[in-house]
């Protein structure tokens, strides 16, 4: 069966005052129906930009090449009406900063129901009923009253949950969640993750999690993609990725993870900094920071090549890696 989302050799270049900046290079990834996929990597590696590309929300002047098929439809080059059909009801997104993504002057009820009415053709009362259910599911107390309130009347964590409810409202088949649980405390976070897992099992919802949190990656997703400087450097089943990485960058991320906690653990910086867009060195983008670099690493960016069952890695050296326990 064809995957629900199939991204192939995606490249994105953004305009800048100093000329076009290549941000994403040769990104390929798939998400199946009912699958929970993780995307991880340091800040600035292009995770959010990938999500924006898949919703056609790039800034004006962006140049995109490659292919991104959703449910058999090519997304790149879609006209406005085509995008309207896909967005919300096909692919929905929880923005990285939910407070900024909520309209400050429209009531929560309005923001929660307006796209339901468009996509699900619901009348007002049905939409309100569903909105109350959704708010209840994301554990907003007193949902009827919350519908009449405005975003500024909620705390950051509650706004985040409202944003999740909005994304789920029009029954999307793929949810792209850009760091959806960062502002939530542990119990609420667990509740949200349980809700997504239930929707996955019951309705075949697919979720692409963008995260800094390797704990979320291991607890929730079955497959993961590790991004570095706008490229996928390694992919495979999450368990294997996290216990037996084959890319030096993945191993470095894991080594930088605090010990002793099972679900905690945020990416900690690796010595050095990732290259700024447009300033990637020739060859493997990681080689200035890589402890295993060899002269051949500086010639051409290594392509993602198969490395065992369901796994691929973009490294020419493939050193034997020891992961700190």
């Amino acid at each position: 069966m064809a995957p629900l989302l199939d991204v192939d050799s995606l490249a994105v270049t953004l305009p800048s005052p100093r000329g076009p900046l290549p941000i994403l290079h040769d990104v390929s990834l798939t998400v199946d129906e009912g699958e929970l996929v993780g995307i991880a990597g340091e800040s600035g590696c292009g995770k959010s930009l990938t999500a924006q590309t898949l919703l056609g929300l790039l800034p004006p002047g962006a140049a995109v090449t490659g292919s991104a098929r959703y449910a058999g439809t090519e997304l790149l080059g879609l006209d406005p009406r085509g995008w309207q059909r896909v967005r919300g009801a096909g692919i929905a997104m929880v923005f990285q900063d939910p407070s900024a993504a909520l309209h400050p002057m429209l009531s929560v009820g309005r923001q929660l129901t307006e796209h339901m009415r468009v996509h699900l053709r619901m009348d007002r009362r049905a939409a309100v009923r569903r909105a109350v259910e959704l708010l209840d599911q994301v554990r907003i107390p007193d949902p009827e009253r919350a519908l009449r309130a405005y975003p500024h009347q909620f705390s950051g964590g509650m706004r985040q949950r409202v944003a999740i409810a909005i994304a789920l409202a029009a029954r999307p088949r793929l949810l792209i969640a850009d760091e959806p649980t960062t502002a939530l405390d542990v119990t609420v976070q667990a509740g949200i993750l349980a809700l997504l897992e239930r929707l996955r099992a019951e309705t075949g919802l697919a979720v692409a999690f963008i995260t800094h949190d390797l704990g979320v990656l291991s607890a929730l997703t079955t497959r993961g993609y590790i991004f570095y400087a706008g490229r996928v450097v390694e992919t495979g089943p999450t368990g294997a990725l996290l216990t037996a990485p084959t890319h030096p960058y993945t191993a470095a991320l894991l080594g930088a993870r605090p010990h002793g906690t099972q679900t905690g653990g945020t990416l900690r910086p690796i010595p050095g900094a990732p290259p700024a867009p447009g300033e990637a060195p020739p060859g493997c983008p990681f080689h200035p920071r890589c402890g295993y670099a060899e002269p051949s690493c500086g010639t051409a960016p290594p392509p993602l090549t198969p490395a065992g069952a369901d796994r691929s890695v973009a490294c020419v050296v493939r050193p034997h890696l020891e992961v700190a326990a």
Binding site: P60, Q84, P104, R145, S155
Partner: protein
């Protein structure tokens, strides 16, 4: 404002604990009205003071040479207008009369200033109000269009148009409009409020179009509307030119907000995103500038009224000022102050209506 944090069981989602019995909008309104009253009192002091430090002797300005040579006539004039009393007494006297609705008598027209104002103000409002409403609708529409089409041909055209409008002297625009629509095309009358074959409709509001319609005299209302068309066209164009660039940059800023991208991400049709999400947020800065725009429109009426022979407050103010007609000047100043405070009050109320963060805090 109270917010509720995660993990506090049993707390209620929403907030805005309001005092019993009073709606927040009412309290907001009451506060604004109190401030307005204080402001108006201040305005009477300032205008009164200003008029009294202006050089020029109202006696010489208002009496004929013959009367000036007669000490008895001068004394009578001074006593009639209270000019022989100390300044503070003149002010208190004036204020006391004001509270009874007595603005004094115009030295020019010999009529009560209040009657003069009641005659001239509706004529000016009949020009200014439709111009303002039209300018807001058109200016917001064009500014929004330019923002959405940022950098493209439409945007460039709007930019050039607004620049032309801003750099056109109002009197020149009035003359061009007169030349084209009156002289060349004969589509509209050249000036005045009514054609000579009509007499004004029975006074209700003092605006001929409205009063004509109220009295069922549709031909009078239509004739008055035709007389309105050219001056309204001039005032609207000038105000639109002033608004457009501001609206455009305000809307551009909103377009870059995450919540606009989020609205698109929900798969809403573009027109819904623009009309509901963009317009709503962009209206706040538009409302801010519309107060200023109304002020500039009112000052524009002085010139437009004199070119189109429109008997409004602008002309009255001009004649009173050149004649140093103190009671009339004070009356006009008070009217202008009242308009400005009302505009500010409206602007504040609109903020509260548009933005729940203001209304509910």
């Amino acid at each position: 404002m109270t917010t509720v944090h995660d993990g506090e069981p049993g707390t209620v989602a929403t907030t805005a604990s309001r005092p019993r019995g009073a709606h927040p909008l009412l309290i907001f309104l009451a506060k604004r009205v109190a401030v307005t009253a204080g402001l108006l009192l201040g305005v009477t002091v300032v205008t009164f003071g200003l008029v009294n430090v202006v050089p020029g002797d109202p006696v010489t300005a208002n009496l004929s040479d013959q009367a000036l040579n007669d000490p008895a006539a001068v004394a009578a004039f001074r006593e009639k207008w209270g000019l022989d009393q100390p300044l503070w007494a003149q002010y208190l006297h004036y204020l006391g009369n004001l509270l009874h609705g007595d603005l004094g008598h115009s030295q020019q027209t010999g009529r009560a200033v209040l009657d003069d104002l009641l005659h001239y103000v509706p004529a000016t409002l009949e020009l200014a109000l439709p111009s303002m409403v039209l300018a807001l609708l058109i200016g917001t529409g064009i500014g929004m269009l330019a923002a959405v089409r940022n950098g493209r041909l439409t945007d460039q055209l709007v930019r050039v148009g607004a620049l032309l409008g801003l750099s056109t002297p109002p009197f020149w625009l009035s003359l061009v409009v007169l030349y084209v629509f009156f002289y060349q095309l004969g589509l509209a009358p050249s000036g005045g409020r009514l054609s000579t074959d009509f007499s004004p409709p029975p006074t209700v509001t003092g605006m001929y179009t409205v009063d004509g319609a109220l009295a069922g005299q549709w031909d009078v209302a239509w004739d008055a509307a035709q007389h309105l068309s050219l001056p309204v066209l001039v005032l609207t164009s000038l105000t639109v030119a002033m608004l457009v660039r501001f609206v455009r940059s305000a809307m551009l800023e909103v377009l870059q907000q995450d919540y606009i991208r989020a609205a698109y991400a929900k798969g809403l049709p573009t027109r819904v995103v623009l009309r509901r999400h963009l317009l709503r947020a962009g209206l706040v800065p538009v409302v801010t500038v519309s107060g200023l725009a109304f002020a500039s429109l009112l000052s524009g009426t002085v010139l437009v009224e004199s070119i189109f022979g429109w008997p409004g407050v602008g002309q009255y103010a001009y004649r009173s000022a050149t004649a140093l007609d103190l009671p009339a000047i004070l009356g006009v100043s008070l009217f202008v102050a009242l308009v400005y405070t009302l505009v500010n009050l409206t602007v504040d109320l609109l903020y509260g209506l548009i933005d729940p963060r203001i209304r509910l805090s």
